[in-house]
């Protein structure tokens, strides 16, 4: 083929026949290529786990406001007696405001149940329907048992998304979302790589037992290591972490 006759494409003219086949092949190839990688990319996604919203639930129990609002169940058709629930509001909102003044009180709660393995959370309904103080004489909050100081590795998650409000609700791609939840007042949990005394999830607290959100935001969603005092508050393991010891595991 002389050079004059070699196919040459000009946008505004008809395509030379030789090139037409080549371009047809490219077009088909592009479509098949994109469809193929779409399939592979989608079919190899990681399992977000079994956490999910699992319907409405009610419980009566003792409210603990610090470090984050939780409920120690004393009576419920939906939850085991003695188990503990993380309490959250709708969306990325905590219920600190509603729980204030009810620390240690007997309350009735109702809302949407979020469950993943041992971790259970309840997204409270609005107003009294969601959280109401009950009249009761003397109640004793569950005893606190100290398990000593530990060095633990794991990931800090927001308790609500991790429990199943989002799938997946952990990891780096989800970090900003988790931070936003924590800033909004959702309880932070440490999901430990190895169980400690049979427990995998720890509600995080500051060294003084109060909230610790501001000190952990840079370490959310990452594999980290930290040290702190592990305590059992009834059915909830609480980790009073020492923020100085937080470090990312490369």
């Amino acid at each position: 083929m002389s050079d004059r006759e070699a196919p040459f494409f000009i946008g505004w003219a008809a395509m030379p026949p030789g090139l037409r086949w080549f371009m047809g092949g490219i077009a088909l190839g592009l479509i098949l290529f994109l469809a193929g990688i779409a399939y592979v990319t989608a079919a190899t996604q990681d399992d977000p786990g079994q956490g999910a919203f699992v319907g409405r639930a009610n419980a009566t129990g003792i409210l603990q406001a610090e470090p984050y609002p939780i409920l120690h169940v004393t009576e419920s058709a939906d939850f085991a007696l003695g188990s503990a629930l993380l309490l959250t509001g709708g969306g990325k909102r905590g219920v600190q405001g509603r729980a204030a003044g009810l620390d240690g009180a007997l309350v009735a709660v109702s809302g949407a149940r979020i469950a993943r393995g041992d971790i259970a959370a309840l997204q409270l309904r609005g107003g009294e329907a969601g959280l109401k103080a009950l009249e009761q004489a003397a109640i004793t909050p569950p005893a606190v048992q100290d398990l000593g100081r530990w060095r633990i590795s794991g990931e800090i998650c927001d308790g609500k998304c991790y429990a199943g409000a989002m799938r997946p609700g952990r990891g780096l791609a989800h970090k900003a979302c988790a931070n936003l939840c924590l800033i909004g007042g959702i309880p932070p949990v440490l999901v430990a790589t190895d169980k400690i005394d049979g427990t995998e999830f720890f509600l995080l607290a500051g060294p003084d037992g109060g909230p610790v959100t501001d000190q952990i935001l840079d370490h959310v969603g990452l594999l980290i290591e930290l040290e702190g005092q592990v305590q059992r508050h009834g059915g909830m393991a609480v980790l009073r972490l020492d923020p100085e010891t937080l470090k990312v595991i490369p």
Partner: protein, 348 residues
């Protein structure tokens, strides 16, 4: 070409090109959501919104990779040149796919919160000091903004408004955008995904883009062969009929020396439209035709035939001892420079 601006000058090839792109894009999203995702081995399905942000996000990444491969591919093999013709539409569609990804992210990860989504987008994660946990969303925002600016200025109106050199420089930002996208994915989704399949596809795509650019760069002539007033080009018959020889000039620009039968003429290698490589085009009916979008220039004066008004610089030529020599200084755009007449015997 330049006689007037209408929103988009459609022709059959553009319709076909865009049609194929839209089909490819729709195929990606549908296969991802309808076939791929259900085939994944999951205890419970991934949230619909997260699935869609993954589908559109990965689609935009792969499309951008393909776009960036077109340029070097066309340099290495001329049959790919038609893909360049409408590459801008490819870019615009990719920008829209990326925007869809961003909207899903904003309406899911940054919604349901007492904080305003835009404030949250920039303020929820501020760990700029670390690599793991870096707010990779910011990199995505930078890339999306660049894609948006490039899509908005992709029309020929902006090309003539800004002038080809500035327009082309602006559109080189696509490489910055690609770099940001690669980092955005590498610091985000890739860190989470335990399955190596996507990581592999991602790495291969980025490597293909880099490798093809290196290969095309290695092929391009770079060093000027002289610095006097005239430089030797070649013997007339060494230039194929209807084709050009591209020559790096001492001033850093390039000249294209064309043969059209027994006439030899030289123009600047940069098309007045988008700086396309004229020397990789052909002489058709006495006019040098740009390989990118088909703008034409007369060999004898570098002017587009009427009614068009584009001009490119010409170069004076002379024949010394059977070798063509080219003047190192270009003539002003549109200056007539009589083509050399060579003996019929020189034809091959």
């Amino acid at each position: 070409m330049s006689d007037r601006y209408i929103p988009v000058q459609w022709n059959a090839n553009k319709w076909l090109y865009d049609g194929v792109l839209l089909i490819a894009c729709a195929a990606y999203i549908l296969v991802f959501l309808r076939l791929g995702a259900p085939a994944a081995d999951l205890t419970r399905p991934v949230d619909g919104a997260i699935l869609r942000m993954r589908a559109f996000g990965s689609c935009a990444f792969f499309m951008l990779s393909v776009i960036l491969c077109i340029g070097p591919l066309a340099r290495l093999d001329r049959r790919f040149l038609p893909l360049l013709y409408n590459r801008r539409h490819f870019g615009v569609i990719t920008a829209l796919v990326a925007l869809t990804h961003a909207v899903y992210v904003l309406n899911w990860y940054y919604a349901f919160s007492p904080t305003d989504p835009m404030v949250a987008l920039l303020g929820a994660n501020t760990s700029y000091g670390q690599i793991l946990g870096f707010p990779f969303e910011t990199l995505g925002i930078v890339a999306l903004l660049i894609l948006a600016v490039l899509a908005a200025t992709s029309h020929d109106f902006w090309l003539s408004f800004l002038g080809p050199p500035l327009w082309k420089a602006l559109h080189l930002l696509i490489y910055l955008a690609y770099g940001c996208v690669v980092a955005h994915v590498a610091l985000g989704y890739l860190q989470d995904s335990k399955n190596p399949a996507f990581a592999l596809l991602f790495g291969l795509s980025a490597l293909a883009v880099a490798g093809l650019h290196l290969a095309a760069w290695a092929k391009a002539p770079r060093k000027s062969r002289g610095s006097g007033e005239w430089i030797a080009v070649a013997a007339p018959h060494e230039i194929a009929d209807g084709r050009a020889k591209i020559l790096p000039m001492p001033d850093g620009k390039r000249a294209a020396v064309f043969r059209d039968g027994d006439r030899i003429g030289a123009l600047s290698n940069a098309c007045a439209h988008q700086n396309g490589p004229l020397g990789e085009g052909r002489v058709i009916d006495g006019c040098v035709t740009c390989p990118w979008h088909g703008f034409q220039y007369r060999l004898e004066d570098g002017c587009s035939p009427p009614p068009f008004t584009e001009k490119v610089p010409t170069y004076n030529l002379r024949l010394r001892d059977g070798v063509i020599e080219i003047a190192t200084k270009p003539n002003a755009p549109g200056t007539p420079a009589t083509p050399l007449q060579i003996a019929e015997a020189a034809h091959v």
